[in-house]
Symmetry: C2
Amino acid sequence: MDRRRPRRAGPAALRRRPGGHSAQDGGRGVNTEEDLLARVALTWLAEPGTRSVHRLVGELGPAATLDLLLDGGAPEEWLRAAVAARSREGDARSVAADALARTQRLGARIVTPDDEEEWPPRVEDLRRMVLPGGHRRVDRETAPPLCLWTRSGWPLREALDRSVAVVGARAATGYGMHVATELGYGLADRDWTVVSGGAFGIDAAAHRGALNAGGLTVAVLACGIDQPYPMGNAALFDRIAETGLLVSEWMPGAEPFRPRFLIRNRVIAAATLGTVLVEAAARSGATQTFNRALAVGRRPMVVPGPVTSAMSVGAHELLRERPSARLVTGVPHVLEEVGRIGADLAPPARAPQRPRDLLDDEATLVLESMPRRGTVDVDRLAARAGVDLRTALRKLSLLEELGMVRRRDNGYALVTHPAGAPGTSPARVSGSIADPPP
Amino acid sequence: MDRRRPRRAGPAALRRRPGGHSAQDGGRGVNTEEDLLARVALTWLAEPGTRSVHRLVGELGPAATLDLLLDGGAPEEWLRAAVAARSREGDARSVAADALARTQRLGARIVTPDDEEEWPPRVEDLRRMVLPGGHRRVDRETAPPLCLWTRSGWPLREALDRSVAVVGARAATGYGMHVATELGYGLADRDWTVVSGGAFGIDAAAHRGALNAGGLTVAVLACGIDQPYPMGNAALFDRIAETGLLVSEWMPGAEPFRPRFLIRNRVIAAATLGTVLVEAAARSGATQTFNRALAVGRRPMVVPGPVTSAMSVGAHELLRERPSARLVTGVPHVLEEVGRIGADLAPPARAPQRPRDLLDDEATLVLESMPRRGTVDVDRLAARAGVDLRTALRKLSLLEELGMVRRRDNGYALVTHPAGAPGTSPARVSGSIADPPP
């Protein structure tokens, strides 16, 4: 398909088709407006990712779960407290109804697990995600989303099918911005969707790279899609909304207060096939996304940087401490990790083939035993090379044919090329191979 | 001991004390002048590292091995050819005698495995070294040295006991030079001997760093110690000879023609506890030293660099392809690899402790739910934080005591610090955690 020209969604995109039973959320009952309203209300009552709410929705369906919670029937004390606190703010159902109306006014859509055609299946793996030593609530409550808002003609599932997350520091260096832009461009150019968080720095650079390639990019937000944060990226968000997707678990108008960025990160990690960390300081939120990618079994990739850069300390720590973290230096390495098996394999880094590579052991010894300047007689050369006279003569005629040495009346001489003696130029970058002295 | 002030060697340093049998080379017979002369002659007849010669010396002793080779009794055809070719150059014994005289004139010494006090035991591990896919002669013939020339008051064994090799590209970048100098300085400053090959670029930077720290550095040469190569580093070699050691397997006057640099690299790799590769292009001699360190069971370490730098391509490839290659970013990481067990452990990279780190789950939620500007009433705050009213009030008074929030008549407000709201500064470098919007 041509990913450059997005399908436009019909005006009635909000109207749900009867979804029937969904294997995805184990939801019971058809996906009625009531269920949709309940999912929205539940998302408002308890922050997305709350495990017990997601489990109840699977068991009882959204509407019944909403009734239960509003009746103070939440299983955990802290959740009952949270629901009670929110309820003091307003009536969950009317808040949800307003959100639905606002969503329609925005021309946005709400996607639920009942929309099997559009729900991104990989986020369901969050059911099984366990973060090592996850004692903070944001590390514990990492269930799949109840629903997702999006503002695009793109079917969500299709857009995320071949996707890679590129995340990193907000206070990125020029180096990091350059690398992230290149990655975003190169991945999008190869029809991979570039997913990130829309933050300043690396996130924005990755989005821009993808947009510049005319490719598809998805910004997963930690606030309502009608007021993407940060404001400084407003123009970027507009470009993304035009050709790509803005996605959020939070209803329009929702504020991006800090815990939501960590809650959101689990979706970036789970919805993609792999996460590339470009720059991260010693203590960094980008590493949180990375750890979530690891925990949910996605390919964890890290771009190294100068050891002199504080913005790469976190990246290097991950490479040292996480055996499964893969060092990548560019798009080919990333494709090697996330590409279909067999396809997209990165070629090993190699210097250009040199004529010397064609020489056998003895010919190489003879060549390398030639003086840099002047001529040498065959006896002396054989001695230096440690080969017998016959061999020396045989190899010399070969080297002569290859245009590497020339016979003179008083012996043999190297044929020097502009780049220096044959095959020495690559050696010039080596720390332990040197050329013979002048 | 104070490694800054080297013991001066006696004038008669050349005179061998009766070494008796040596476990090191399994040599038989005492280490007579004849044996010494034979070792020198053998080193000249066949390049150092030749396995069959080393084996014969172990079985028959140096003198008998020399007789055997000169009688055309070398086991391999190529070796017989090499011996014959050299012999056409001159008489092995007289060449060796001249070398001994020249060594004495230089005030240099020859160390053999019979000098159990001074012979560096780790080089003997080269007996067991096997290079994967080693088809070139330099990859096959990697036996321990027959003898080593040195020009220093330092006992060789003592100097190499706590040693690390730092190698890398000759066409190093400013970044690589900086890192190598820092490593050389930091290691020497902690009483580690810095070993390298004396080449331009990374090697020279590592030596200089060690010298600047007033520490000990060893240059293992691929030519005679009386004409260290490259000439461009002559001043550096003089400084090393003064306070450190110049070491070589080749007799004074020997030329550094290319195969010798690879032959030499096995000694750098084996004599040290680990090898740090700082910069290397895709095809690089430094990676050869690295592979030898791997093959002989030393700690293989690699310093990453910008993925945009051709001089780091080889380093990154090693980190990707060699599971045992360890990414290191500085001296603490290197010491962690080579340091005595338990000692020299690198502290994990951490941002400075912040007051926020002392807060529990709920207090953090409450703090993070505070609006950046203005005040908020407790009900709304509790709702945003998802905690009950009682908890919100309890945590607020804690935050108030910590000076993070202030109570106003119309609610609570953040106490903003110069660096921004408490604990937000470190988060500023994160790609996926953002501050609440203004």
